[in-house]
């Protein structure tokens, strides 16, 4: 299989602190490779090295089997592009943002218009060309950033937590765009994520990262099938709970995850399991409410993380669980630390991993 980019024995040290240690990794042509690991595991640094934005302290980077040095770095940069976790846009129109890279490549104006329109269509932002990019919603802005990268038709697309700061609707659109880019445009993608569900479903291969090292590389089935130590330790902070599953009288699966917390799932598993609930799938309310969701918990907000257009809340329901809501909802509900809230999610939202 043709290698697009390859890191050989790459180490990166920042101010005496090792961010990456002896990394060996290849991204193969046409694949989606996910870098899965907790915050601070070195995913972003690795992507920046692949994007030629950072130079390794030790080791070598190869692009199409050619060793990259400062001499050929700018040429290699034209064949890869990166979308950052924090959306960064030029302070101008959507059209000019998307056209920027094409202009650098001296693409004729007529082709620029075609490529920009194609990219905007791909991210479902047709007709937004004249809008000021920074006046769009958070989700739309991230889609503009994706369009800007896709318009370039680069060999390699690097995505740093592409859905981390998005609401469920925009996250789902972005995931669809990633799959389309890979399937239809044949773009090779390397993406960093800490979303277990995304890592399980999107990529062809996963590289598990922890403390600046790659502990395992394999397919989704290989990685999730054996529930490695790295995955288990990482899982503890990401709405993943270990427990004992049994089939209840009504036929659903009941998983006891300790501290009196029982989660209802659809999948028929028994015995020791780990379950994951996406923070985006959880509905939060200040009062108890009737719904079809089989899982309903009462808890208190113990942590608030403001991420711009969205807010991540950690709620103690006996076990800490992370919930993601929009900033607007957060403000309208007048939430604060220690506010008592009710959480609900469907049994079908519970992924057994």
């Amino acid at each position: 299989m043709t290698s697009i980019a390859e890191l050989r024995n790459v180490t990166k040290v920042f101010d005496g602190k090792t961010a990456l240690q002896n990394i060996n990794l290849k991204s193969n042509q046409g694949e989606i490779l996910a870098l899965l690991g907790p915050n601070g595991s070195g995913k972003t640094t690795l992507l920046k090295i692949l994007a030629f934005l950072e130079k390794p302290s030790k080791g070598e980077v190869y692009f199409f089997d050619e060793k990259i040095t400062w001499r050929n770095m700018e040429r290699a940069r034209l064949e890869s592009t990166m979308v950052f976790q924090k959306t960064v846009l030029f302070s101008t129109s959507v059209y000019k943002n998307v056209a920027y890279g094409l202009k650098l490549r001296k693409t004729p104006e007529k082709n620029i218009t075609e490529e920009v329109n194609r990219a905007l269509r791909l991210v479902r932002l047709e007709g937004f060309g004249k809008s000021h990019a920074r006046k769009l919603s958070g989700g739309e802005q991230q889609r503009v950033a994706l369009a800007r990268a896709l318009a370039l038709n680069t060999k390699l697309l690097l995505l740093d937590e592409p859905t981390a700061n998005l609401d469920p609707k925009n996250a789902s659109i972005v995931e669809e765009i990633i799959v389309t880019a890979n399937n239809e445009l044949k773009t090779t993608i390397v993406m960093a994520t800490h979303n277990m569900f995304q890592a399980k479903n999107l990529p062809h291969r996963i590289a598990l990262m922890e403390d600046g090292k790659i502990s395992e590389v394999g397919t989704s089935t290989e990685i999730f099938g054996r529930l490695s130590k790295t995955l288990a330790s990482f899982a503890t902070v990401e709405n993943t709970f270990a427990g004992t599953a049994k089939i209840s009288e009504d036929g659903s699966t009941l998983i006891d995850v300790g501290n009196g917390v029982q989660i209802v799932a659809v999948a028929k598993n028994v015995g020791e399991v780990s379950v994951f609930v996406s923070p985006e799938d959880i509905i939060l309310s200040k009062s108890r409410f009737e719904s079809s969701a089989r899982n309903m918990f009462k808890g208190k907000i113990v942590e608030i993380l403001d991420l711009g257009s969205i807010v991540r809340l950690k709620v103690d329901i006996g076990k800490p669980i992370t919930v993601q809501i929009t900033k607007r909802s957060f403000n309208e509900m007048g939430l604060n630390l220690n506010t008592e809230v009710f959480l609900a999610f469907k049994a079908s939202s519970v992924q057994i991993i």
Binding site: A51, S80, F84, V88, Y100, L104, L158
Partner: protein
Amino acid sequence: MNILDGLVRALQLIFSGDPRIVEITLRSLFVSGSATLIAALWGIPIAMFLGRSNFCGKFIIKTIFNSLIGIPTVVLGFFLFLIFSRENGLLGFLGILYTPTAIIIGEAVLVLPIVVSLATTAIEAVDPDIANLAKTLGASESQASFAVLREALDGIFLAGITSFNRAIGELGVAVFVGGFIAHVTELLTTGIKLEIDSNNVDVAMALAIILLVLVFGINLALNFVQRRKK
């Protein structure tokens, strides 16, 4: 002549297109514009360096530039006079004392701290990821720097306007290194001083009105253009 008579006579001079008034006005615009341009050509690269890098002593350099904004023009003019003095000045051999060139250089030195300080602040306010974004879209180092500069354009624009206003309105440097040579170094500010000393209130008032109209007019026009661009 009372003030009202002076004002009427001043307006007559302006609207009749008095050749001397026109000449002084055009020279002032040229000298201040050139000084601002030269200061921008030095100052923006310095601001790019200060705004985009972290090094020991950066704070001290920024503080020096900030402090120099308030330097009295008379003091700067006096030192420049000593430097350009044809008899024993350090740069006396250039023979530029009492020429528009000397005023342009002097005013460029005067407004350089304004350009550097305001442009540095504007560049520091740009998202630090903009340069990396440009690079990952295929930009070279210089193209990435240009992308940062474009993001800081509003602040740099402000630095330019402020510098021009300071240059066109200052008297100290113009008097010390330009003197009062008619048809050679006479500017709006030195012209006002000269005409007052000669008891020509009407001409002084005409020049003062033009100076005020220029400062307000140019500011208004540029702000209007900037607003339309947004």
